[in-house]
Every structure is written in C-alpha cells, then in structure tokens.
C-alpha cells in the first residue's frame, strides 16, 4: 500500500471516530431526552436541558479542535503537511 493510501486510511479512521462522537452529542443523547432530563446534571441543571443549552455545543467546539490536531499529526506522520512557503 502506498504512503498516500495509508494516509487516507488513517484520515478516514479519524473521520469515523469524529462522526461517532458527533453522533452521540447531536443525536444519541436526544434519543433519551425525556429519561435523562429527570436527573440533575452539571451546575444543577437538568441533564438534557443542560446539553441543549451548553453541553453539546461546548462538546462540538472541543471536538473540532481535537480533530484538527489529530489530523495534523496524521499529515505529519506521512509527510503530507504543508510547508510554510506554499
């Protein structure tokens, strides 16, 4: 397998992990919205309510930065990161 194919395989792997986490915070939680809202969550808000107000939103921010760093590492590993002068 060529260097480029390996790079793409890893990139795709990272995509699936990223989308899986995204799925949990954007869809998974809200499948059980009513049940989870009975429980008191962070800062004393009901769980589901907190996720819709802040939790999921914040998770997405962190997820994107995490994804960007991981992808940079993958690009470096296979020598595909950009040179500064490009």
């Amino acid at each position: 397998m060529s260097n480029q194919q390996k790079h793409w395989e890893k990139t795709r792997g990272l995509l699936f992990i990223t989308l899986a986490i995204w799925f949990v915070f954007s869809i998974g939680i809200f499948l059980f919205g009513a049940e989870m809202n009975e429980v008191t969550g962070p800062f004393g808000y009901p769980w589901t309510y907190w996720f819709t107000c802040q939790g999921s939103l914040g998770a997405f921010v962190i997820l994107i930065f995490w994804f960007a760093n991981r992808q940079e590492k993958i690009d470096e590993e296979f020598g595909f990161s950009e040179r500064e002068d490009e």
Binding site: Q4, H7, W8, T11, L14, L15, T18, L19, W22, F25, S26, I27, F30, L31, F32, G33, A34, N37, F43, G44, Y45, P46, T48, Y49, T52, C53, Q54, S56, L57, G58, F60, V61, L63, I64, F65, F67, A68, Q71, E72, D75, G79, F80, S81, E82, R83, E86
Partner: protein, 603 residues
C-alpha cells in the same frame, strides 16, 4: 504595507474594540445629561454603520484574488470571528432567545443543529475545498465533476438557498433601521441595503472579511453585556451560564403553580398577530425524540451545504489553518448561542415571578397598565394583556408577547439604562448586515465567476470580471430588498427553509466529491437537481395541505430532499462510466494537504 496590516490585526481590532467601548461610555454619560432615547438609538446605528462603510472603503481592491478570497491570507482566529458574524444572522440575534422563551426544548434543537453542523464542515469539507483552491462553491463542483451543466446546477441550488436566506436578512436590517432611525419600513429596507453594499462592493471578500470581524465585536458585546448585567442585577448569579439552575427550577415551580391554561379560540382571536403566550414548559422535554433530532439533523447538514459559510474557509492561508479556523468559528458562535437560553430564562423569570419587583403575573390589570415599559412595548405592538376570565388579576395565560421582545425589551424591563437598548439595536444591525453581506457576495460571485467568466466569456479580463461582479452585487441586493419590502414571510421560517434547500441540493454532491472517487458528473447533476426538485416538491405539497410522511414537516423538508439526492447520485453514478484518470488523480491530490492547489492562484 499589506503584510504589515495582517501582522497588526490584533492591535487594529484592539484599538477598535476600545474605541467602541469608549463610545458606549460617552453615550451613557450623554444619557445622564439628558440625551433623548431616540437620539441615542440613531447615534448607535449611524456610528457603527459609518465605521463599517469606512472599513469597506479602505479594503477596496482591483485584484481577482483579493476580491474573491481576500487574498487567502486571513489568519485563523480572525477568520473565525468573521465566520461567526457571517453565520449569526438577525434571526440568531433577535429571534432566537424569543423562540427558546416560548417553545423551550423543542426549539433548542436549532441550537444543537446550528453548532453541530460545524463538525461536519471541519471533518468532511472545509480543508479539502481549501486545498482545491476554488473561488466559489460551484467552482469546486464544476472542476471536480467537469462540464458546464454541473457547474450551472450548483449555481442554481446556491442561488435558491442563499436568496431565500438573504431576503430575511435584508428584512431584519430594515426592521432595526426603521425602529432605530424612526423611518417607515419600506424606506428603511433600502437604508439597510445601502449599508450592506457599502461593505462589500469595493472590496469584495476582502471588504466583507474585515467588516465582519468589526461586526462580530459589536454584536457579541451587545449580546453578552445585557445578559451579564441583568443576571447580576437580579441577584441570579455573577456568571449566568453556571449559576441559573435555581432560576430554571423556579420557573418549573411557577409553571406548576400557575398551570398552562388553554385559552378559548374566540379569546385568542383578540390577541394581535405575531404575539404569543407561554404555553410550553421551560426546561422539560416537550418534543418527541424524532421531532428534535430531525430538525437538528436538517440544520446540521444545511450548515455544511451553505455556500456563504463554506467560502469563508477559502480565505485562510493554508489547509491546516482552514481546519483550526472552523474550531474558532464555532467557539465564537458558542459564546452567543450558549447565552441565548440564559437570556430567555432571565427574561421569563423577571416577568412571571410574583416575588420579583418586575414580575407582572398576579398583579391587577390597572397596576400592569400603569408600568412605563408595558405601555411602550404595548404601543410597539410587542406586548398585550387581556382579562379573559374577568377576575381583574393577570394570569399566565393572559399575557402575550412578541418573540423579538425577549432580546429588545428585557434590558428595559430589568431597569437597565437606555444606552443598552441602543447597543442592542446596533448589535442586531451588525448581525443582520454581516450575514446579508456574505450571502449577497456568495450569489454575485457564483454568477460572475461561474456563469459569466467560466461559461459565457472565459477570455474576460480581470477588470471586466470584477465590474460584472459588482454590478451583479447591486442587482441582487436590490432584488432582495424589493422582495423583503413586500414582507411575504417571517424571518425565522425563511432562514430554516434556506438550510433545507441547501442540504437538498448540495450536501451529497459536495461530500461525495471528496469522499467517493467513483462519483461522476451524471450522478452529481442528478443529485443536485433531483434533490432540489424533490425538496421543493415536498415543501409545496405540505404547504398546500399535504399530510407529509415520517414526521417530516415544512421545516425539515431537506431530509427528504437530501435522501432523494443521495439515492439519485449513487444510482446514476453507478449506472454510468467512472470518472477518468485525471479526475481520480485530482481527488487523490485534494485528499493531502501538501502540494499545489488544484486550481491556480488566479484562475
């Protein structure tokens, strides 16, 4: 000099922010010295619009590269701010907290949808489209799939989605300008339009970028300052985001105590149009999982298909920067979106809690009618009370308010000085202008670059291309304003439709263009046109009395449209020949950040 400007950005915008805060303080002092509320409103809107116009003039350019993609040198964090302003429209600013106030959990699917979509943007599209080196979104479609028909189809989808969106934004600038400057809406729409064009016409994307950063700073100060101030003033907590749990619980208690009494249809007829009462629980789950998830999903996929957002990531210096920049965009959006539910909570509690001095529920009608702010907002047609049961005291089901009032009136209800209301008007104007700018530019650029230059006259010189782009900008702006002046549809409804149109036609053709090498021209055309047609058909069908299926409503018709788009694209691609070697090589090149971009620096 140019390099200097980029290096000095933190300083330039630091001084700008300081200057704006200074202006707020001067206005606050002027208010104490007796400056009228109306004069303060005019000063806020006029001053900020003047600054944007100045930035637009300073960013004027005659180079295609600067006009279309701001010279591809916008630093990550600043592009994040510009995207956040581009993204957060008049609807986010003025209507969102109101929606949460009235509809609670079911409405908050929009919060999740309008943020979660950025994960898709970052992981599926933005870095790859940046590597491609395109000027516009149809530029990518046209080059990846080849052929004028594919390019043209993308322009059609882009225009339908963005135009639906832009009329709503021009409408919002008109509403704010008409209130702040006290002129009739029909003229205010054109005042708004001229302000918008001042930012974008001379400098194209470069002008829009630097005005959007300036607009972000104004709108975020205008949104956060009142939220923090009100929270502190009410004693609800120094930092509302972490400290409002008691208030949320208290609202739940009051809801139990008052109960949601259903009003008779005849009584409701007497309530002015556009006003609503509190009929849904504030923090309880009041929507089925599918209703919530389908709306969130439609908004997320729509986010990843809207061209005015995508093209912001064409302006970063590198692929790496494009990825990081998506993160910064969402961070800046998060600051406002996470505050909207807090504002809704503070607003609702201050109105309904009888233990607070501002609470009006349980007071007599004579008492409420004597309150200054009630009289003002009742006159502005945003508040209404009526004694349905004739007992003389105001009940929860007898109080009605317009959605905009949550953002616009809460500062006044909480007893903040008028200078804050002027600031909020300037913030709303900034939010609506920045989004309208991005959208008009997206449409004008697609038509000037993809239709005029790439299809009609490929030999046109730069000067002529940019002239065409500017003429189109003005034409599209005026067309948008003319439709906005007719006031056909509400702001929020048409915004949501724009997302559905975009996802119906563009989501899969864009994503599969990068992630599926086998996708070919015929498939992409079928996907774009089939998806758009199916989505439009569903919308018309439901609007004209159709029952719909699978719980897909007129707000989520994009789910149906994009499903048709996906199927059409895959089936047609597999039935026709696979793309040629050169195209496959191109896809391989797009997938790695290093190396030359697919399209040349100036194309």
């Amino acid at each position: 000099m140019k390099g200097n400007f980029i290096d000095n950005l933190p300083k330039v915008y630091g001084i700008y922010t300081g200057g704006f805060i200074g202006f707020i303080i001067i206005m606050a002092i002027a208010e104490q010295m007796g400056m009228s509320a109306k004069a303060i409103g005019i000063a806020f809107v006029a001053f900020t619009v003047f600054i944007y116009a100045l930035i637009g003039w300073l960013s004027r350019t005659a180079q295609a590269d600067a006009y279309y993609v701001a010279g591809r040198q916008v630093p990550t964090v600043f592009n994040g701010m510009a995207t956040a302003a581009d993204w957060m429209s008049g609807a986010s600013f003025v209507a969102m907290a109101g929606g949460i106030y009235f509809k609670g959990y079911g409405y908050m699917a929009l919060l999740v949808g309008w943020t979660g979509g950025y994960v898709l943007v970052a992981s599926l599209l933005a870095p790859y489209l940046r590597k491609f080196g395109c000027y516009t979104v149809p530029d990518f479609i046209g080059t990846r799939y080849g052929g004028n028909l594919a390019r043209f189809s993308a322009v059609v989808v882009l225009t339908v989605a963005s135009f639906t969106y832009v009329t709503a934004q021009i409408n919002a600038t008109g509403t704010i300008a008409s209130v702040a400057l006290d002129i009739p809406f029909q003229y205010a729409v054109y005042v708004g339009l001229i302000s918008i064009l001042l930012c974008s016409m001379l400098g194209g994307m470069r002008g829009v970028t630097w005005t959007q950063v300036a607009q972000y700073i104004v709108l975020i100060i205008a949104y956060l300052l009142p939220v923090f101030w009100i929270s502190n003033k009410m004693g609800a907590g120094f930092f509302p985001h972490f400290m409002l749990a008691d208030e949320v619980a208290r609202i739940g208690e009051l809801e139990q105590q008052f109960g949601f009494v259903k009003n008779a249809a005849a009584d409701l007829k007497t309530v002015p149009k556009g006003l609503a009462g509190i009929t849904k629980a504030h923090s309880a789950v009041n929507a089925t999982p599918w209703a919530f998830i389908s709306l969130a999903l439609a908004m997320m996929m729509g986010t990843a298909s809207l061209p005015h957002v995508m093209m912001r990531y064409f302006t970063t210096p590198s692929v790496k920067a494009a990825r990081k920049s998506v993160g910064w965009s969402l961070f800046f959006i998060f600051l406002l979106y996470s505050s909207a539910p807090m504002l809704a909570t503070l607003s609702k509690l201050s109105l309904i809690d009888p233990n607070l001095s501002t609470g009006i529920i349980g007071k007599t009608f004579a008492e409420v009618e004597a309150i200054d702010w009630y009289q003002n907002w009742n006159q502005a047609n945003l508040m209404f009370i009526s004694d349905f049961n004739g007992n003389g005291t105001l009940e929860l089901n007898e109080f009605f308010m317009g959605g905009k009032a949550v953002v616009l009136a809460t500062p006044e209800i909480a007893g903040l000085p008028y200078v804050i209301s002027g600031l909020v008007a300037a913030g709303g104007m900034a939010a609506a202008m920045s989004t309208a700018d991005g959208l008009i530019l997206a449409i004008a650029n697609a038509i000037s670059h993809d239709v005029y230059y790439k299809i009609i006259d490929p030999k046109a010189e730069t000067a002529k291309r940019l002239l065409v782009a500017r003429v189109l900008l003005v034409i599209i702006g005026f067309a948008g304003a003319t439709i906005a002046a007719m006031e056909i549809q509400g702001i929020l409804g048409s915004v949501i439709w724009a997302f559905d149109f975009a996802m119906s036609g563009l989501f899969f053709p864009l994503v599969l263009g990068v992630w599926w090498k086998r996708a070919n021209r015929q498939g992409a055309i079928a996907g774009m046109l089939g998806g758009l047609a199916a989505g439009t058909w569903y919308l018309v069908w439901v609007r004209t009395g159709g029952s719909g299926f699978l719980g897909i409503t007129q707000l989520t018709f994009g789910i149906f449209g994009s499903a048709v788009s996906l199927i059409a694209m895959v089936v047609v691609s597999l039935m026709t020949a696979e793309p040629d070697k050169a195209t496959q090589k191109m896809v391989d090149d797009v997938r790695v950040p290093s190396g030359k971009s697919i399209l040349g620096k100036s194309h």
